[in-house]
Symmetry: C2
Subunit: 324 residues, 2 copies
């Protein structure tokens, strides 16, 4: 962590490609974010999104120039998988990014060193650089939103696995009683991701249990979201609390499995569902101890993400700095 804006004048560019938006920024080596911009992703085919990313990088270069500096490298986080050997990306939410040669497409127009990685790798790197796991070497970032995935740092190095898909913990088997939904998304994701919280609540309401959620969505049960279930639970709604109880147990089991196999120092909890904060995290902390290897459970901290939606941006910045 040496250097700053006044000495050397080198910045790193960071581009965090999300499912709907692209965020970008410049970072100094001493962790300062100089610039932040956000645009909606152009969904008219893969070439359009490439042009958009190239424009974003050109803008970052100009910005670095106005700060009397230059960009040393650019980190790019992808909402999916980066196949490093092939230079291909797969991102289910971006039209046409199915084993798409993003790296070579960008290299035609961008002369800077570039490093691409998955969003979950970026999240864990970002939190380790500047967030909830600052300076730690064995860290897992668990993202629970519409899906579930993890970024893993062991002894300070990213774990990618043999096909760049390590961290697919949404597939954790946590319930011996196999249900059909597990085949499409994995057991942990089917039982604990945001949509499952909403689904479970709707099921309880349909079975006849009364809930303030019906009023909250004016009878349109399809409008129930995990966020609304959390709100209702905070207002002591029994149905919402019951639905969350089951979610809490599965989250605790999934986190316990991560802790038992990897013995991390910190598990950072991020993604939409954990925006619920204490109502979710306190009972998860308590329940997870029941399941995890006891010494590993004692040594780990479960922390909410400090960087929130900027974790990917910080991680992209760190990816870039690590290449220089």
């Amino acid at each position: 962590m040496t250097g700053s804006i006044t000495e050397g004048q080198t910045f790193c560019g960071a581009v965090d490609v999300g499912g709907t938006k692209i965020a970008s920024s410049l970072f100094t080596r001493d962790e300062r974010m100089l610039h932040k911009n956000k645009v909606a992703i152009d969904r008219n085919g893969p070439e359009k999104s490439v042009i958009q990313i190239i424009d974003i990088i050109k803008n970052l270069e100009q910005h670095a120039h106005t700060e009397n500096g230059k960009i040393g490298a650019v980190g790019i986080a992808i909402p999916g998988v980066v196949f490093h050997a092939e230079g291909l990306v797969w991102a289910p939410n971006i039209p046409g990014w199915d084993h798409f040669p993003l790296r070579s497409k960008l290299e035609i127009k961008v002369q800077l060193p570039m490093v691409l990685d998955s969003d979950r790798s970026a999240y864990v790197l970002g939190e380790q650089w500047c967030g909830a796991a600052k300076g730690k070497k064995d860290v897992v970032y668990l993202a629970v939103g519409t899906g579930i995935g993890a970024g893993i740092l062991m002894d300070g190095r990213l774990c990618r696995g043999c096909a760049d898909i390590a961290g697919a913990v949404g597939w954790f088997a946590l319930n011996a009683d196999f249900r059909d939904e597990y085949a499409a998304m994995g057991c942990f994701e089917a039982e604990a991701a945001g949509p499952s919280v909403a689904k479970r609540t709707v099921r309880l309401i349909k079975s006849g249990e009364a809930s303030i959620l019906e009023e909250m969505v004016e009878g349109r049960l399809d409008d129930i979201t995990a966020e609304k279930v959390v709100q209702a639970a905070q207002k002591d709604d029994c149905v919402a609390q019951k639905a969350l109880e089951s979610t809490i147990q599965y989250l605790a089991m999934g986190i316990a499995n991560i802790v038992s196999i990897l013995n991390p120092e910190v598990v950072v909890l991020g993604g939409g569902l954990f925006q619920a904060g204490e109502i979710l995290i306190e009972p998860v902390r308590k329940e997870f101890k029941k399941w995890a290897q006891p010494l590993a459970a004692q040594r780990v901290r479960l922390e909410l993400s400090h960087l929130g939606e900027d974790a990917g941006l910080y991680g992209a910045g760190k990816l870039a700095w690590d290449t220089i």
Copy 2:
């Protein structure tokens, strides 16, 4: 992988401390085992076992000398945990090895470079050096015997975790319906380790189901072991097969969790239970695909250990070679 007995004349010493026996050997850099010896462990207190290990190392030195060579380093595998920063070992089956300063005790009498590690780290290193995962970088060794544990290599490096206890997969939470036994040993171990196979079978027999096992143990149900259950299953005994079915499902779930989170190229299956061979492994291979992340499941090989009881010895040898 260069050098051999004829050039350089350097060997590595390997000591594999088990719960009941200590095996030792010399290795050339090109993977040849020159010597193998095995003695019962002296159980009269920790100092006795230290003297024994020192004697074993002296014997290895003499043997190297008679081969016109010398020992470059010694690797020692421990049936428990090695706390690297403190130089302490914990091995539940060896009297007095509870945070015992084995390294410093040995260093008083042994001038050679020594490297200590857990048996599960040694197993995975051994299989990667000379066994079922030869030359692979992302490898997990899953040991299922009286207990369950894993050794993990990611990108060619051992994963130890922040407190040297990574790989405690016996604690995997696989059944949401918590049972009291889980508190002592973890859910996966309670459901799938050797003793659980025997217990489950006894439970079925006591509930009135007829089995050839009763005859095999002459009515002494306490004498039923996992090994005998496997033998009975091979003879088409329905009770034994039913008991194994449940074991197979839990093994498949545990292996699926390893594969989903780590995306390894090979999972090596070792330990007493997997000596059952095909009757266990074929159904596990089939069932695990139901649970694991599909691409990771497609990319991984599940292989029986090639080195068997020598895996720890090979691993200790490789640990030593890696320090030179």
